[in-house]
């Protein structure tokens, strides 16, 4: 078995609540319940997503040893997708239309497609994607080694189905809320507004480098987004409510 990757993209997620200890057999049993199931012989277009292990891509075997990722737990899930090759459909449709000497009706095209799917899909092999993740139980953190939206969604769904825990991406809000900031700072974080930096690429004398807070949402207190420099500024610096308008005026200048 090869070692875990040492390059690529990673998306961190957090969870709240307790997860089964990955060193226990029970953890492997949870994965096993949501193991990957093959669609190799399926006769319809479908997607199969489930856990496998780094050592065994079939999803038939799970044991805590196979999930050993040093200080973390090495998870792997597999996404198989079987779909009708559109080129084949086009070839068959063209042949049918050529034989008939005219275009097929919508109904005939649908029937042809259904017939071809029945014939061809059992012979089509699914595409396979293996995605890794490192789970750190004590930190309630999991690092997903994929950045695509579909992989993130598939992982979140599979994780929830397996452990009944909702994953939260470690975005700027969640990362702040999960940190050891004070409760007051966390409340401020939830309401904080962007700093609008002044456009100083203008003629000298037309600007003063004082950051301007963006407009606050209605009915929202903004303890942080004050602009103390505004009152001192010799130029008519943008007030929070007019920052954007002032910016466009500056551009014109």
């Amino acid at each position: 078995m090869a070692a875990i990757r040492k390059s690529g993209g990673v998306v961190p997620f957090f969870w709240q609540g307790k997860i089964v200890d990955p060193r226990n057999d029970e953890f492997a049993e949870h994965l096993s319940l949501q193991r990957f199931r093959t669609i190799e012989n399926a006769a319809s277009e479908e997607v199969s997503i489930g856990w496998v292990t780094p050592a065994d891509p079939t999803g038939d075997n799970f044991s805590p040893e196979e999930l050993d990722g040093g200080i973390g737990t090495w998870l792997r899930f597999r996404i198989d997708k079987k779909s009708m090759p559109m080129k084949w459909l086009q070839i068959h449709r063209d042949a049918a239309e050529k034989a008939r000497g005219k275009k097929l009706s919508a109904k005939e095209r649908r029937e042809l497609k259904d017939d071809l799917m029945d014939q061809l899909l059992p012979r089509v092999l699914p595409t396979i994607t293996l995605v890794d993740a490192l789970l750190f139980e004590e930190r309630k953190t999991v690092l997903l080694f994929a950045t695509s939206k579909s992989a993130k969604e598939a992982f979140g769904k599979l994780f929830f189905e397996t452990f009944s825990l909702q994953l939260e991406p470690a975005d700027p809000l969640q990362s702040g809320l999960r940190s050891d900031l004070s409760e007051e700072d966390k409340r401020t974080l939830e309401r904080v507004n962007p700093i609008r930096w002044p456009n100083t690429a203008l003629e000298q004398g037309q600007w003063r480098p004082v950051p301007v807070a963006a407009a606050a949402p209605p009915n929202t207190e903004r303890p942080v987004e004050q602009n103390p420099g505004e009152a001192q500024s010799p130029q008519p610096q943008a007030s929070p409510e007019t920052a954007t308008a002032t910016e466009s005026t500056e551009h014109e200048a």
Partner: protein, 172 residues
């Protein structure tokens, strides 16, 4: 999963401010940060910068290769008040060095390169353990740096202290 998308949408700007702040700190303070527990890490911006558009109609600007932070285009973007949306950064702690592109609105990382495997690694299992530790360390460093930024950013005096200093630097 919808919650997270919401977090990136509502607070993605904070990630952009964080990344721009890293650049500011690197240029003005040398890029060395002392994290909790006394860990000292060094940060430098590398060969890729992407600036967020100020409005939806504006064009995003991307600078690649060489030293983009030294270019006139980068200085102009800062003077115009642009924040960084993505940047490739070098992160060093002791003898370990990572490179990664930080996507500011989501704080996800792409194009990561971990430090070389430790010399003591004799088996694939050893390598996995070593790399897992390095992946976690990278994640924790980014989170710790972001926390440092937030401590400053959420302070009552931020507008008249850190933000004004950064505005002066951006105006250079």
């Amino acid at each position: 999963m919808s919650q997270a998308n919401q977090g990136a949408e509502t607070h993605g700007f904070l990630g952009e401010e964080f990344l721009t702040w890293l650049w500011f700190k690197w240029e003005t303070d040398g890029g060395e940060f002392t994290l909790s527990g006394g860990r000292i890490v060094g940060i430098a911006l590398d060969d890729f910068l992407s600036f967020a558009a100020l409005t939806e109609d504006e064009t995003e600007q991307t600078l690649r290769r060489g030293l983009p932070t030294r270019t006139a285009e980068a200085r102009t973007a800062l003077r115009q008040g642009h924040r960084l949306r993505k940047a490739r950064v070098l992160i060093a702690e002791g003898e370990r060095q990572w490179t990664a592109t930080i996507d500011a609105p989501t704080l996800s990382l792409s194009g990561v390169k971990l430090p070389d495997d430790a010399e003591e690694c004799e088996s694939e299992m050893d390598r996995t353990a070593d790399r897992a530790a390095n992946w976690l360390a990278l994640h924790e460093i980014v989170q710790a740096l972001y926390r440092l930024f937030l401590k400053e950013r959420l302070h009552d005096d931020y507008q008249s202290t850190g933000a004004e200093k950064q505005a002066n630097w951006m105006a250079l």
